[in-house]
């Protein structure tokens, strides 16, 4: 259809597909750590895509997004680890073989619960915008983290700051992704298998986001972002549409959380700090608000860059006799990169293409 924008991935989708499929096979030659970086980048892409629905489409600045990530991660952590059985004898009795909830059951459950929490947290903030909304959502994000940190007594549900360990690996067709797969001509370590699962999930997310963006729901979100009063005057129920955006965004966060928990095998409140929320917002803004390729680029860069810089910062540290701490240097370099991008490309690295450039700017009011 002529009105629908063509899927703006790369100019050659075939080439892109080959690149994405071969990438981990190349990376794993240099060590599994590199594939891990790619895996984490993909998880962040999913998170950024979800937050993009809230911030990019509906224009609601959410600084507590990591809370939904945490909800998803803890659901899988609780339902696929021995922790609950240790705490509650009746759980151990009900599941004599151990609590190993299947991923395919947890995924919809986490999506539903995270979506519900998203709507729940979104509801009281409906009248707020901009900075005020950001502060309230920031508070909500912290509340969830504090809950996770302190729900180890009187009844030990989350195991507090110690976190939940020995979470099952994700099983696809009953094959645990943590186990090395020997295809004869090539060996695929666990991280590479996770890569392909994550890649599939990311592609699915992109498809869902793109279809939402080019639907009447997506247009309605963008209308609210552009001018809420005008959107109302067009008959849009802005309350429901905002809640829908919160819910949809949170769903993505929950799903990413599940995969994250299975991938890491361990979750603790530390992974869901305010810094994470800010990083995800930074990915969306840095890449290009509301523009899918930009958001993906931003997420890959900001998730991958710190890890790559690890290898650059090390030598620099040696050069200065250890006076420059690698961790600090890394943050410094990222901060510099972000300031640079915002100075020279204020609409993000890859913003939505500009229509109407041909018209004189003087013609606008």
């Amino acid at each position: 259809m002529s009105t629908m924008r063509t899927l703006p991935l790369f100019q050659r989708p075939g080439l892109l597909a080959v690149f994405l499929l071969v990438l981990p096979l190349v990376l794993q030659q240099f060590g599994n750590a590199w594939v891990r970086i790619a895996d984490m980048s993909l998880i962040y892409v999913m998170l950024a895509l979800g937050l993009n629905i809230v911030v990019g489409y509906a224009g609601l600045l959410d600084l507590g997004y990591v809370a939904f990530f945490a909800v998803g991660a803890y659901i899988f952590g609780l339902l696929a680890s021995p922790h609950l059985m240790d705490t509650f004898p009746w759980v151990a009795q009900t599941f004599p073989n151990g609590l190993h909830m299947s991923l395919w059951l947890v995924l919809p459950l986490a999506a539903a619960l995270a979506g519900f929490v998203g709507v729940l947290l979104g509801a009281p903030t409906l009248k707020l915008r901009g900075d005020y909304l950001a502060i309230v959502t920031l508070g909500f994000g912290e509340i969830i983290r504090v809950f996770l940190n302190n729900l180890d007594h009187p009844v030990n549900i989350t195991n507090g700051p110690k976190g939940i360990g020995s979470i099952d690996a994700i099983r696809v067709f009953d094959y645990p992704l943590s186990k090395k797969l020997d295809l004869g001509w090539i060996e695929l370590p666990g991280v590479t298998l996770y890569y392909y699962l994550l890649l599939a999930l990311v592609l699915l997310s992109v498809l869902v986001c793109f279809r939402l963006e080019t639907s009447r729901i997506g247009r309605a979100w963008m209308a609210i972002r552009e001018d809420e009063i005008a959107a109302k005057a067009m008959g849009l129920n802005t309350r429901n549409l905002k809640l829908l955006a919160f819910g949809m965004g949170a769903t993505f966060g929950g799903l990413s959380g599940v995969v994250f928990a299975g991938f890491q095998g361990f979750v603790s409140p530390e992974s869901f700090s305010l810094m994470e929320s800010i990083m995800i917002v930074a990915m969306v803004v840095l890449g290009g608000l509301g523009h899918l390729p930009g958001v993906i680029l931003g997420a890959v860069l900001l998730a991958g860059l710190p890890e790559v810089l690890r290898y650059v910062a090390g030598p620099l540290q040696q050069l200065t006799d250890g006076r420059l701490d690698a961790a600090i240097l890394r943050q410094l370099l990222i901060a510099l990169a972000m300031i640079g991008v915002m100075l020279w490309r204020p609409h993000g690295l890859w913003p939505a293409p500009e229509h109407g450039k041909a018209l004189e700017p003087g013609a606008t009011r």
Partner: protein
């Protein structure tokens, strides 16, 4: 009996110590262009905001095309069938002209999230219909060639047209224009007048709030004049122009036409 599109009576609205509207009535027949004029601060915009649901009235009875409606929320009024434009243009600046009009179709279409994600045949059909209707409306107001341009890049006059197209997209019973000629030059006013004439010829009903008395007198079938929150005169433009109270409201006591 006349087919009243808008039939409101006894509307009062008080802001603290200020009686902004007292017992205002208005009846607009189908297919007419109805003008609402009055000096600054007469209550025109308050009246407008009350019937479109932005302000809650203290009292009043509201009928839209014979059906009672409660102006309790802006989006509900739009669903009931009053579409409006804004005195200071409010478009969706970063969306294309076409998308702006497509948003106007939202309220008359159904598909939800699931349909959008699965791209069901119903969704595709509806989406095609939305786009087709939006293009037709852009053509109707004369800016079809600007469909792909972002709204903020359009010229002032074209932005006004786009706003009207977007309002028409909601299939309104009544389209309410809040000072559409504000800030327009003479050429743009002539074009605007032609457009409103065209809308009337299509048997649509227009409520026009306007400062430009010349435009109102030339265009409207009937006019109401507000002053200090009261309706001081109503009738054809010629009748209203001769009304002593109107002359007094505009020119002060002792003035003679």
């Amino acid at each position: 009996m006349t087919d009243w599109v808008l039939d409101v009576s006894g509307i009062s609205k008080r802001f603290g110590g200020l009686q902004a509207l007292s017992e205002v009535d208005m009846q607009i027949a189908r297919g007419e262009v109805y003008g609402l004029i009055g000096p600054n601060g007469a209550g025109k915009t308050t009246f407008f905001n009350v019937i479109t649901g932005l302000y809650t009235p203290d009292s009043g009875r509201f009928l839209l095309a014979g059906q009672p409606y409660t102006p309790s929320a802006v989006h509900k009024v739009a669903q009931a069938g009053i579409a409006r434009t804004f005195q200071n243009i409010r478009l969706f600046a970063e969306m294309s002209a076409l998308e702006n009009v497509m948003v106007g179709r939202h309220v008359r279409t159904r598909t939800g999230v699931l349909g959008a994600i699965l791209r069901t045949p119903a969704f595709r059909a509806e989406e095609a219909a939305i786009a087709e209707r939006a293009r037709a409306l852009l053509d109707y107001v004369g800016i079809a060639h600007l469909a792909e341009y972002k709204a903020r890049t359009l010229s002032y006059g074209d932005q006004r047209r786009l706003e009207i197209a977007r309002a028409l997209a909601t299939d309104p019973q009544l389209i309410a224009l809040d000072e559409p000629a504000a800030g327009m030059n003479a050429t743009e006013k002539v074009q605007l007048r032609a457009l409103i004439d065209k809308i009337r010829q299509d048997q649509r009903t227009v409520l026009l709030i306007e400062h430009d008395v010349k435009l109102v007198m030339g265009l409207c079938d009937r006019v109401s004049v507000l002053d200090y929150g009261r309706c001081i005169a109503r009738g054809t433009p010629a009748e209203v122009q001769r009304d002593a109270r109107v002359i007094e409201a505009y020119l002060g006591t002792g003035a003679h036409a």
